[in-house]
């Protein structure tokens, strides 16, 4: 019978006060700023009727803008994934002068206002820019004002998400498993591929999802470098702005709602994949 005594909570501990006030403030704050406005987004498009919403979304310009936004975000997250892993590895595992500075600099894309990043990247990658001119001269590649420019901006914006989700996992992982693998006769590439990478996979996936989600909605860093040609380099957020300027509120909301639902569906898929990965490792 002593077991129940051990598990019993100490007789009288007062609960922490302030639930009513703090929860009240939180719910009011979240309700007014997040829930009601997003409800407006969910309701507004249907003023057009179901057929109207579908017609509004079937507009070729909308389809193109959505595929540019989602395609560029996907490509950028794929490019940022190995780069982010490399940076996280360097910060956690390698010793070199300037490591701490590098660690601090990773967050730069978080801290730099998006419009500033946008004009800076455009200045770099424009056909006469520091990077744009050599690329143009050497390979004939134009980055700015093409879809490649959109991807470049989204790599910049997404990179810290991947580094900052992989880094803590890599730090906590330690080297025991790798040492064990080496002791059991695994070569170094085998240990990296079969021990390290699978352990990092869930966090890589999380970082990928965060970078992707951010990229889909990104506006400030993209519009300067994109060129904004309808059907080619026009992103979905810009199309929302254009529709609002034409006072087509319902049409703008339809694009916004489609963007949100699509990216939530993709994030949900990534989440399920991640669960499957975690289960597979147990």
């Amino acid at each position: 019978m002593s077991a129940t005594l051990i598990h019993a909570r100490p007789a009288r501990v007062a609960p922490v006060p302030g639930l009513g006030l703090s929860l009240g403030v939180t719910i009011a704050w979240a309700g007014l700023i997040v829930v009601i406005p997003l409800a407006a987004l969910a309701i507004k498009p249907w003023e057009l009727g179901v057929a109207g919403v579908l017609a509004s979304l079937a507009d070729p310009r909308v389809v193109s803008a959505l595929s540019v936004s989602f395609g560029a975000a996907l490509a950028a997250a794929l490019v940022a994934l190995p780069l982010g892993l490399l940076l996280a590895w360097a910060i956690v595992r390698l010793e070199f002068p300037g490591r701490r500075v590098l660690d601090g600099a990773i967050d730069l894309p978080f801290a730099l206002p998006t419009a500033v990043a946008g004009i800076a990247l455009t200045a770099l990658l424009a056909p006469n820019g520091w990077l744009g001119a050599p690329l143009m001269a050497a390979f004939g590649w134009q980055i700015a004002y093409t879809q490649a420019g959109i991807v470049a901006a989204l790599v910049f914006v997404g990179l810290p998400f991947i580094v900052r989700t992989v880094e803590p996992v890599l730090r906590d992982m330690g080297r025991d498993a790798e040492e064990a693998a080496a002791t059991l006769g695994a070569t170094r590439p085998q240990a990296l591929a079969r021990v390290v990478l699978p352990a990092l996979a869930p966090s890589l996936l999380t970082g990928f999802g965060l970078a992707f989600a951010r990229g889909v909605g990104e506006y400030g860093s993209v519009i300067f470098i994109a060129g904004n040609m309808p059907m080619q380099t026009e992103i979905a957020p810009l199309l929302i702005v254009i529709r609002l300027e034409q006072f087509d509120y319902a049409g703008a909301a339809a694009v916004g709602l489609a963007m949100l639902l699509l990216s939530f569906a993709i994030l949900l898929g990534l989440n399920l994949l991640q669960r499957a990965l975690r289960r597979g490792r147990r």
Binding site: A14, P15, L94, P109, V116, A120, A182, L260
Partner: protein
């Protein structure tokens, strides 16, 4: 800690050197060059030209407006964020996970959508548009709209930096304070706040940096009226689109400095509190 016995699991020094070189090259291209470009472009025609662009009337108005928006937004999100962190970390109630999801939601919403939702409610053709117009109240294309959109975008910062720390620290100290007869506010001021002060400050700084630098959300609700509803990032856009590159980059350099100061302060605060504070934007 592993002993130094030339372990079999270590990478060859040459391989590590290649990795370090590659990492530094990536960081140089993606982080150093864009930042350098801002300052070089700003100073291309000399420091006096850059300074003139900043002290010019419309720029000063943009700086003032940016400060006002941040001065309203940050305290609102500070109160809301601390309340949310307290409720989630120190109390029990049903629906907690839903609330946490809701608090983080603005991070996964496009800034343009953050502006759009307030236009849908307060805009000329929005739900309250007619009502507001009849009473001559301006929300969209005016300060209230700018503040609402900025509050939405910066909503999660304080809650997200403070909440994990409060959860980690558990409730024993607060429960002890309550048992000894402290009121909720006394417990917060004397017990909880001292434990989370650095994280809280870090959250406030991140919130402030984003509030001052936000572009997409305020762009939708601002109306871009020069000298009236233009914040600094919007002013950068206007100057840039008018081919006034020196001016655009000068104002941009000011914003970049704000970002750099925020980064430096954040890493100092992390060292003070001895733990990284989740800084994802």
């Amino acid at each position: 800690m592993s002993a130094r016995f030339r372990p079999a699991h270590a990478d060859a020094p040459a391989f590590n050197a290649v990795l370090i070189g590659a990492a530094l090259a990536v960081a140089f291209m993606l982080l150093v060059l864009p930042l350098a470009a801002v300052f070089v472009e700003a100073l291309r025609r000399g420091l006096p030209v850059a300074l003139d662009a900043i002290v010019e009337e419309d720029s000063l108005a943009a700086i003032r407006l940016t400060l006002v928006v941040a001065a309203i937004t940050v305290p609102l999100n500070l109160v809301g964020g601390v309340a949310a962190a307290w409720a989630v970390a120190k109390c029990d109630f049903p629906g907690k996970r839903l609330l946490v999801t809701l608090i983080e939601l603005p991070f996964s919403v496009s800034p343009v959508i953050a502006g759009l939702v307030f236009v849908l409610i307060f805009g000329a053709q929005g739900w309250l548009g007619g009502w507001l117009q009849a009473r001559d109240i301006q929300v969209i294309f005016a300060l209230p709209g700018l503040v609402l959109a900025t509050v939405f975008v910066t909503f999660p910062f304080v809650a997200r930096t403070v909440m994990p720390l409060m959860q980690e620290q558990g409730r024993e100290e607060e429960e002890a304070a309550a048992t000894l007869g402290a009121t909720g506010f006394q417990t917060f001021w004397r017990v909880t706040l001292p434990n989370v002060k650095w994280a809280l400050l870090s959250g406030v700084l991140l919130c402030n940096a984003r509030a001052m630098g936000e572009f997409g959300a305020v762009s939708v609700v601002s109306g871009h009226i020069r000298g009236e509803t233009n914040t600094m990032p919007l002013h950068v856009e206007i100057l840039y689109n008018e081919y006034q590159f020196a001016g655009a980059f000068a104002v941009a350099a000011l914003l970049a400095l704000l970002g750099l100061v925020t980064l430096a302060a954040k890493s100092i605060l992390e060292r003070l509190s001895g733990r990284p504070s989740g800084g994802a934007a």
